[in-house]
Amino acid sequence: MAIDLHKYANPRRFLKIASAIYPWSAGLTVILLLSGLYMGLFMAPPDYQQGDTVRIMFVHVPASWMALSIYTMMAVSSAVGLIWKHPVADLSAKAAAPIGACFTFLALVTGSLWGQPMWGTYWVWDARLTSMLVLLFLYLGYMAIWEGFDDPSKASKAAAILVLVGVINVPIIKFSVDWWNTLHQPASVATMEGPKIHGSILTPLLIMGAAYMALFVTLLIIRVKAEIMQRRLRILQISELRNR
């Protein structure tokens, strides 16, 4: 495991593999997103109580999945970066943060747009919504701490410490709907007894989830590549100045 990680920690090898994956993930994103949206918005049956507003779910639920998964991924790669000092691990955590913040924001916005017709209010201060908002602030704090340091290696360590402290929030969000009686409904896809949703709605939901995942991989590759290029550029500029 550790040996494998070391192999992929080399930025050049990472770039090579990422470039090979990139066209596939980009193509997969387009296909899955189009088919998922078509199935979700046109083919899936309207809910017997909620009518067509239930279709917000196909945008909302996968976005919240991604918001939590990306934070977890950032925590894992920050831990890897902190322990084995892999440069790519830190960079991938940094590159993932704005994407995760966007998914969190998307989940909050679509959730409140869904809440207005269903609950009669855009926002309630229940456990799930509040902890999602906290997650957004954690993402923002993480991004801010990268800006706060001049030295990128120091910034990466400080950001890693922060993300590992904040990771306590992830299980709280995941289980908040089970622990507290909230307006938000409890988990209905990933439960012990299997999904509680009918296949006609579950299939587009899972396709949308896969589409978001592919989108995340595509964006992450672009952003990590840009980060690596930026570092190389900086090194070139410094050596240029030194030679002058």
């Binding site: 509040t130 602030f137 704090g141 801010a144 360590k157 400080a158 410490i161 922060l162 590992l164 402290v165």
Partner: protein, 221 residues
């Protein structure tokens, strides 16, 4: 252990001799609380309703105000380097500084809080529970704050960043603290809230000094 207590008493003595810091956070706390009745109007029923939350937010902000002092002064005059390279483990240094911070800038707030609660028309039971929740919950504020303070030590715009880093992590304590006092005002059982807060405090006691120590080592590299 001897070194540990020496460090605590040194920090407390430093804070007391400077004097201004202690009265500063205290008067900030009092002014924030005073602003609320002026802002929302002096009706006693409303004040009873919002009292617990107001006092908790006031304590939280006053604590936030003094957080950067945990490490900043020692970082600037170089004694932090000596403390970290000294025989005491860095985790113990952090813990000693957290205790000193709590005693000098949070404990005075807890002593004044009951009096302010009286002016907000809170019942005696509520005031009693408020003091207990503050005693259980505020150590967590200092502990979590030490992580933020260690991360931002020596940073130019540290203060604003510190609040962005620390405030989201304060939310659970705020929720349970205010909920416990509200429960007691409504004559409900407060034990679950107190137990949850105690759990959070103990968890923070384990995690935060380690994280803050790692951040301190990083800042002093």
């Amino acid at each position: 252990m001897n070194r540990f207590s020496t460090l605590i008493s040194r920090d407390i003595r430093l804070a007391l001799r400077q004097g201004s810091a202690l009265t500063l956070s205290l008067s900030f706390f009092v002014i924030v609380i005073v602003l609320f009745p002026l802002g929302v109007g002096p009706e006693l029923s409303i004040l009873t309703r919002i009292g617990p939350g107001v006092l908790w937010i006031g304590a939280l902000l006053a604590c936030l105000l003094t957080l950067d002092r945990i490490f900043q002064a020692d970082f600037e005059d170089g004694s932090l380097d000596l403390l970290v390279t000294g025989p005491l483990p860095v985790v113990a240094v952090v813990l000693a500084k957290v205790i000193a911070h709590w005693v000098t800038s949070v404990l005075p707030l807890i002593i004044v809080a009951p009096i302010l609660a009286l002016t907000l028309n809170m019942p005696f039971d509520g005031i009693w529970v408020l003091t207990v929740t503050l005693l259980i919950g505020t150590p967590t504020l200092s502990l979590i704050g030490s992580v933020g303070a260690a991360l931002t030590v020596g940073m130019r715009r540290g203060g604003v960043l510190l609040s962005l880093l620390v405030l989201p992590l304060y939310i659970p304590i705020l929720i349970f603290g205010a909920a416990a006092v509200e429960a007691s005002v409504a004559v409900l059982d407060v034990t679950p809230h107190l137990l949850l807060m105690a759990g959070i405090s103990l968890g923070a006691l384990v995690i935060c000094p380690i994280a803050a120590a790692a951040a301190l080592r990083l800042a002093l590299d």
